[in-house]
C-alpha cells in the first residue's frame, strides 16, 4: 500500500474527487454497456415467447 491510511487513500492529497469521479463514471458507463444489451436480449425473447404462446393458444382453441 502506497498510502499511510485509508483516509489518505480516499483523499489523495486533494485529488481524490477527480480520481474517484473518473473511476465512478467508468464503472457506470461500463455497467450500462453490459446491462443494456442483456436487457434488450431478454425483452426481445420475452416478447417473442408471449406472441408464440398466444399463437399456440389461439391455434388450439380453433381446432376444438
Amino acid at each position: 500500500m502506497y498510502f499511510d491510511s485509508f483516509a489518505a487513500f480516499l483523499h489523495m492529497d486533494g485529488h481524490g474527487v477527480f480520481v474517484w469521479s473518473v473511476y465512478g463514471s467508468a464503472v457506470l458507463v461500463m455497467s450500462l454497456l453490459s446491462y443494456l444489451p442483456l436487457k434488450r436480449k431478454k425483452s426481445t425473447l420475452a416478447a417473442l415467447a408471449s406472441t408464440l404462446e398466444s399463437c399456440a393458444l389461439s391455434n388450439s382453441s380453433e381446432s376444438h
Binding site: A26, M30, K41, L52, E53
Partner: protein, 247 residues
C-alpha cells in the same frame, strides 16, 4: 480456414460459440481490471509532478486506445459486410458504434477531469483531446445515419460506407490536428512526456489496458448477441430459445 469463415457467418453457430466463451472473457476482463485498478490506485507510487491525479491515466489511456481501435474494428466489419454481404459482419459493425462512442466519451470525460487538477481547466484544445472529440463526432455520425434509415439492411450498408470513409480520414484528421496544435501551442502548457513513464506506473497500466480490451470484446459480444436474437426472431433456434428449449 474457409469452413471456419463460413461457420462464422452463421448466426446460430456464432450465438452458441460466443455463449461458451463469454464467461471466460468477461471474468478475465473483470479480474484484470480489478487487479490493475487496485494496483494503480493504491500501490503505484505518486507522480512527482502531477501528484495523485495521474492515477486517472489507468482509465484514460486504455479507453482512448480502445476507442480508436474500435473504429477500425467497425470499419473492417463494414468492409467485410460490403464485400461479401455477410450478415454477421453487419451485426458486428452495428454493435461497434455504441460501444465505441461510449469509450470515446469516457476518454474525453476522464481527460477533462484530469485536466482540472493538472492544467487548472476542464477543457484544453489540446491535439489529442481535439482528435478524440472528432472521433466521437464520427461515431455519432454513424449512429445517426443508422437510426435515420427505416430499412435496416440499407442502414447497415450505408454505415459501412461511412465508416470506411471515416477510416481513410482518421489518419489525415489526426495528423492535421497535431500540426494545428503544434502551431498554436501556448508555451505555458506542457504535456506529460509519455516516453518517460516509469515502469512502476506502466505495469498497472498494462493490466488495465488488457482489461479494457477484453471488456470491449465482452461488450461487443453482448451487443452482437442481443442484435442476433432481435434479427433472427423468425428462425427456429431463436423461437426455441424464447420458449426455453435447449438446443
Amino acid at each position: 480456414m474457409w469452413s471456419f469463415f463460413h461457420k462464422l457467418g452463421s448466426p446460430r453457430w456464432f450465438y452458441q460459440i460466443s455463449g461458451r466463451f463469454l464467461p471466460w472473457i468477461s471474468v478475465t476482463a473483470v479480474s484484470l481490471l480489478v487487479v490493475g485498478t487496485i494496483w494503480g490506485l493504491a500501490f503505484a507510487p505518486e507522480d512527482f509532478k502531477q501528484g495523485n491525479s495521474y492515477r486517472i491515466m489507468f482509465v484514460h489511456v486504455p479507453t482512448a486506445m480502445v476507442a480508436l481501435v474500435g473504429y477500425y474494428v467497425m470499419a473492417a466489419a463494414g468492409a467485410v459486410s460490403l464485400i461479401w454481404r455477410m450478415k454477421m459482419a453487419d451485426v458486428v459493425m452495428r454493435s461497434c458504434a455504441p460501444i465505441g462512442a461510449a469509450m470515446t466519451f469516457l476518454a474525453l470525460l476522464s481527460g477533462a477531469i484530469w485536466g482540472k487538477p493538472t492544467w487548472g481547466t476542464w477543457w484544453v484544445w489540446d491535439a489529442r483531446i481535439t482528435s478524440m472529440l472528432v472521433l466521437l463526432f464520427l461515431y455519432l455520425g454513424v449512429i445517426a445515419l443508422y437510426e435515420a434509415y427505416d430499412n435496416k439492411v440499407a442502414a447497415g450498408r450505408a454505415c459501412a460506407v461511412l465508416s470506411l470513409v471515416g477510416m481513410v480520414n482518421i489518419p489525415i484528421i489526426y495528423k492535421s490536428v497535431d500540426w494545428w496544435y503544434s502551431l498554436h501551442q501556448p508555451a505555458s502548457i506542457k504535456l506529460t512526456e509519455e516516453s518517460t513513464i516509469h515502469s512502476s506506473m506502466l505495469q498497472p497500466l498494462l493490466f488495465t489496458a488488457a482489461g479494457f480490451y477484453l471488456f470491449y470484446a465482452t461488450a461487443l459480444l453482448l451487443y452482437i448477441r442481443a442484435e442476433l436474437v432481435f434479427r433472427e426472431q423468425n428462425t427456429r433456434w431463436v423461437r426455441d430459445l424464447a420458449l426455453g428449449k435447449r438446443d
